[in-house]
């Protein structure tokens, strides 16, 4: 631990500097507790109904095929979104490092989607994937590969993967940036030593880069897991959960249950499930970054 810098402050300073954030954070925790309380009430409609009914909302939820479908889709997101974007991000990062000066030209081209709103991405990709008038099928037909055209978002089997494809397009640059920084942090001597030993770029990638970027991998996976648990906008804009309920995820189901169907108690129960799943990642992550910051 670093020596404590010498600048005198008193209790009043602590209060002055930390009271605003303390109130906000306390409010957030209060709202989490409030959601938990509502999840155990039979609250239907917008006006408050504080009728305690224990775990009944959870029982109802666990009996719904729609809930399991949403949860399944969230898990699909975690696997099919995180692994490809992380791997692609790492490969691109290494490619950029090898490309030398061309890096500054290429980097923004992979990163710019990150600046866009999911609603923009959704509007754009909904058209890309449109089965009749969509861009992808249109291009396939015009280059004589019409037989490869797919129903995309019109097919319950493919639709979730289509959404994930749009997210990969948007988030690969994020993983790439984290990996770029991580590769830069690897001491140059290790690369030099490997080169002197005659290692090829491929071998360096496997034996030097991959083992030395585990921390970036952890950060990427943590951030993308949280993203997979809260995904909402892309689903809303591109498929609105459809066809049927085939692309619904917990975040979407929660919104529809609470705001459209006004099953507030049930919606709160879904929120609590999201909370539990997210906490499994967020709490260890917060612990880790706290330890890092203070040493």
């Amino acid at each position: 631990m670093r020596p404590i810098p010498d600048m005198s402050y008193n209790r009043l300073h602590i209060l002055l500097f930390l009271a605003p954030i303390f109130i906000i954070v306390l409010l957030l925790y209060g709202m989490i507790a409030w959601t938990m309380a509502v999840s155990m009430d039979n609250w239907v409609g917008m006006a408050p109904v504080w009728k305690f009914n224990g775990l009944q909302n959870y029982v109802t939820l666990f009996r719904m095929e729609r809930f399991w479908g949403s949860l399944r889709n969230n898990l699909t997101w975690m696997v099919a979104f995180i692994i490809p974007s992380a791997m692609l991000g790492l490969v691109l990062a290494y490619g950029l490092v090898l490309s030398g000066r061309a890096e500054s030209l290429f980097r923004p081209l992979f990163l710019y989607p990150l600046a866009l709103s999911f609603v923009v991405t959704g509007t754009l990709w909904a058209w890309m994937y449109d089965p009749e008038a969509g861009v992808i099928n249109n291009i396939l037909k015009s280059i004589g590969l019409g037989s490869l055209s797919q129903p995309w978002i019109a097919s319950p089997r493919q639709a979730t993967f289509c959404l994930i494809g749009a997210a990969i397009w948007q988030y690969t640059g994020f993983a790439m940036t984290l990996y770029l920084a991580a590769i830069r942090d690897i001491p140059g001597e290790i690369f030099e030593a490997a080169k002197v030993d005659g290692a090829s770029d491929m071998q360096i990638f496997r034996h030097v880069v991959v083992p030395n970027v585990t921390q970036a991998t952890m950060v990427t996976i943590a951030m993308m897991t949280i993203f997979s648990l809260k995904v909402f906008d892309l689903v809303w804009v591109i498929t609105f959960g459809g066809p049927g309920t085939s692309t619904e995820v917990l975040g979407f189901f929660m919104f529809v249950a609470t705001y459209r169907q006004q099953f507030v108690g049930l919606g709160a129960a879904i929120s609590v499930i999201i909370l539990i799943l997210a906490a499994a990642v967020v709490v260890p992550y917060a612990w880790w970054s706290m330890k890092k910051l203070q040493t």
Binding site: F17, L28, W34, Y112, V282
Partner: protein, 278 residues
């Protein structure tokens, strides 16, 4: 020596080729959006989306803008104050937490990190009820309040991560000269830590401008609605009218894209600090 250099450059060609192909794939959606936003309805009906536009049909932008106008104004009037206040309150606390050591600083950091990274859905409904209780639901001040509650902790974490890197000596020297925390924050930290402040501000502004969930849950109707829900509505009302949709998507993307193009460095450093990897 020169020969080796040339061979080295040639050996890079396959790599550059692969990167170029990947970059083209990444650009294709953007190209589609720009190209088709400038086509006439007749050109669109020919369904040759990969072709560049024949002329510049700016009327699409006029149409899309007239629909998005109020939403864009609302987005601006919500994002800017939110950013200013969140970055001030966040850096105010982030400074104290990262530069002063006291008993509970770790606990506060830990609790704030959790609150920051939990999905919005966990507090969405109570937040709605809070705005209803305060009679600011479906108004711009209400949206500002909601975004402040959600983004100030994030601003604190990012600035704290940045401020960690400021040399201790600076603070020691100031301390010896009798400079207290408040003077230090205004006189030394803000100027020295401008990178932190700008990066955080850019990130928060982009988050708020791009957000959809809060904007959807807290507003109804055009009065206070931000640009993102209006754009999503445009997709419903102008189904299959791709050129208007694309023009609308382009207009909504202007502020974040301008930030990315001109302040990309800050955007990236804010993003990295936002993961708290330090």
């Amino acid at each position: 020596m020169r020969k080796i250099n040339i061979r080295k450059r040639l050996s890079k060609l396959p790599l550059l080729f692969v990167l170029t192909v990947a970059a083209l794939v990444w650009l294709l959606p953007m190209y589609t959006m720009v190209a088709n936003s400038l086509k006439t309805a007749r050109e669109i009906s020919r369904a040759q989306y990969y072709l560049p536009p024949r002329g510049l049909e700016l009327q699409n932008y006029v149409t899309a803008f007239s629909i998005l106008q109020q939403g864009l104004l609302n987005s601006l009037l919500v994002s800017l104050p939110t950013t200013l206040i969140a970055v001030f309150l966040g850096s105010w606390a982030g400074f104290f937490l990262s530069r002063m050591r006291f008993k509970y600083s770790q606990t506060i950091f830990f609790a704030t990190t959790i609150a920051t990274f939990l999905p919005y859905q966990v507090v969405l409904f109570p937040l709605t009820k809070l705005l209803v209780t305060l009679h600011v639901i479906n108004t711009r001040p209400g949206l500002i309040l909601a975004y402040l509650i959600l983004n100030t902790p994030m601003a604190m974490l990012i600035t704290a991560t940045f401020f960690e890197m400021i040399p201790v000596e600076l603070q020691e020297a100031a301390g010896l000269d009798g400079c207290g925390p408040i003077t230090f924050y205004w006189r030394i930290l803000l100027p020295v830590g401008r990178l932190a402040i700008i990066s955080t501000a850019i990130l928060i502004f982009t988050f708020v401008w791009n957000d959809f969930l809060i904007a959807m849950a807290m507003t109804q109707g055009p009065l206070a609605q931000m640009a993102t829900p209006v754009l999503a509505g445009l997709k419903g009302n102008y189904a299959q009218v791709w050129h208007i949709q694309m023009a609308g998507a382009m207009i909504t993307s202007v502020p974040p894209l301008l930030i990315f193009i001109f302040l990309g460095r800050y955007f990236v450093s804010g993003l990295m600090a936002g993961t708290l990897k330090g």
